[in-house]
Amino acid sequence: MNIVVCVKQVPDTATERKLRSDDKTLDRDAVDGVINELDEYAVEEALRLKEAHGGEVTVLTMGPAKAADTIRKALAMGADKAVHLVDDALAGSDALSTSYALAQALGRVGFDVVVLGSESTDARTGVLAAMLAERLGVPQLSQARKVEVNGSAVTIERVTDYGYDRVEASLPAVVSVVEKINEPRYPSFKGIMAAKKKPVETLGAADLEADAGQLGLAGAWSEVVDFAVAPPRAAGTVVKDEGDGGAKAAEFLASKKFI
């Protein structure tokens, strides 16, 4: 089975994240990049699919040169090879542009199943799996908390507000996974060493045979008009419980008409 797992390098959420004043995009240079947390679950699920059904796991990422660290992490976990879309012309892409570039790359790489995390911790749009399924014309099996492949049939448990839906489709398909679908493995020392020798293909915008007008900041379908650091919330009242803490909290709630 040809498994492609999409990963994204995101700023460490423990650091202060900023938009740049000039182009109003995320300042990726100023922060440490880490693999998007939910993508670790995607890599793990891709590896489990390979272990159960054979085949190969290809890591696909779009991002600046330093996103190579994130590729190495996925390779160290056990993926076989990687494709890195890196080009200044791709910088500032919104979700539509990103899905376009990734879909073009997936068309070139080929796949039976594409696995990705259900959202990134930076943009948090949660739309990419749906957009990729739309662009690639394959089933959307998103928000999966369980994935089972049987021959060309694939079944997932899709998380819903009321519980989950059991969803069936045929491969090829796009699958996005939620946290808790599995327990991502830690890269072993051997895995880390092996990752250094695994092939990473670098692609630029020109390799995608894409309409350049739909890529990068200039091709985006939306824009940030302006932004500001959120003002700190007005200081509230904090009381020490002297045996009446619950009653004081109730008074507060009553003063705000919650009770």
Binding site: E16, A95, V127, Q140, V167, F227, A230, V239
Partner: protein, 317 residues
């Protein structure tokens, strides 16, 4: 005034509160048209949508709209965008709502904005990003603005619309019917409101100490008619089911009141609740970062404070 499509969220035939919020918001920007997708439409639903300002109600009742994942709803909306040329399309910023918006954006060559917490003239959206650290105004620059609006962003206000009904027969493509919902599994959540929709959320964290102790959180929640949430520490420990996790890798909530009990408030948690209007924190550690964003905080033992609070609320009813 121009037409604004609002995709109706409904469960068991009932219109969800977020749809009433979206209709209220749409009224301030144009003439709302509700779009009902799937079975379950009734006179009661019509009355509700009309009461909150729907001038038109497009009804597409085919079961296929619910029985295949996301794609059919995006096709329905795309067809309406084509025929009605609306000024904008609003959906709820739920996981599925955002996915519908994403596919619709591609189909209609339009931009999409997710997790708007406000929307003003010109369809300029307010977003709160990076765990609430930065406020952004954004807008769509190509096609029809498609905006996914977070539940609880607007208070629903009734103001009757014309409620003219129009049946829509949408011919779904084969491609829209490739991910088949073969079973819906409903996990019991009791009578509590849904977490992302609830006006009040009471969440418990590490300080709660055990799954059994979550009964305290549930009692407080029930006294307020609230949903129950949990921090990642609590769900990771298995004290409360994962689908109730509030935070960066869980649900994002934006209620009128958020009560955090025994939660220290790491950025990962704040990312899921920072746009709550009023925040109350109970924690024994005075240094807990969540106190920094609390409107009211109690430094104390939650096992003393929470039962007292629950009792006081009951007394005041």
């Amino acid at each position: 005034m121009s037409e604004i499509l609002v995709l109706v969220e409904h469960v068991d035939g009932d219109v969800k509160k977020v749809t009433l919020e979206l209709l209220t918001l749409a009224r301030s920007l144009g003439e709302p048209s509700a779009v009902w997708a799937g079975p379950g439409y009734s006179d009661a639903a019509k009355a509700k949508l009309t009461e909150y300002g729907a001038d038109k109600i497009y009804v597409a009742g085919s079961a296929d709209l619910a029985d295949y994942v996301v794609a059919p709803k995006a096709e329905l909306l795309a067809s309406l965008v084509g025929s009605a040329s609306p000024a904008a399309v609003l959906v709820a910023a739920t996981a599925e709502g955002k996915e519908i918006a994403g596919r619709l954006a591609i189909k209609t060559d339009s931009g999409v904005i997710t997790d708007a917490v406000g929307l003003v003239e010109g369809f300029v959206a307010d977003q709160s990003i990076f765990g609430g650290g930065v406020n952004v105004h954004s807008r769509v620059t190509k096609g029809t603005p498609i905006v996914a609006v977070r539940p609880n962003s607007t208070a629903p206000v009734a103001s009757a619309g014309a409620g003219a009904e129009e049946t829509v027969d949408v011919e779904l493509s084969d491609l829209a019917k490739t991910a088949h919902v073969v079973e819906r599994v409903k996990q019991e959540k009791g009578a509590r409101p849904e977490l992302t929709e609830a006006a009040i959320v009471v969440s418990g964290g590490r300080g709660v100490g055990s799954g059994d102790n979550f009964a305290l959180i549930e009692k407080l929640a029930d006294s307020l008619g609230a949903a129950v949430g949990a921090s990642r520490a609590a769900t990771d420990a298995g004290w409360y089911p994962h689908q109730f996790q509030v935070g960066q890798t869980g649900k994002t909530v934006s209620p009128q009141l958020y009560v955090a009990v025994g939660i220290s408030g790491a950025i990962q948690h704040r990312a899921g609740m920072q746009t709550s209007k009023t925040i109350v924190v109970v924690n024994k550690d005075a240094e807990a970062p969540l106190f920094e964003i609390a409107d009211f905080g109690v430094v104390g033992d939650l096992f003393q404070v929470v039962p007292q609070l629950t009792e006081e609320i009951a007394k005041r009813k």
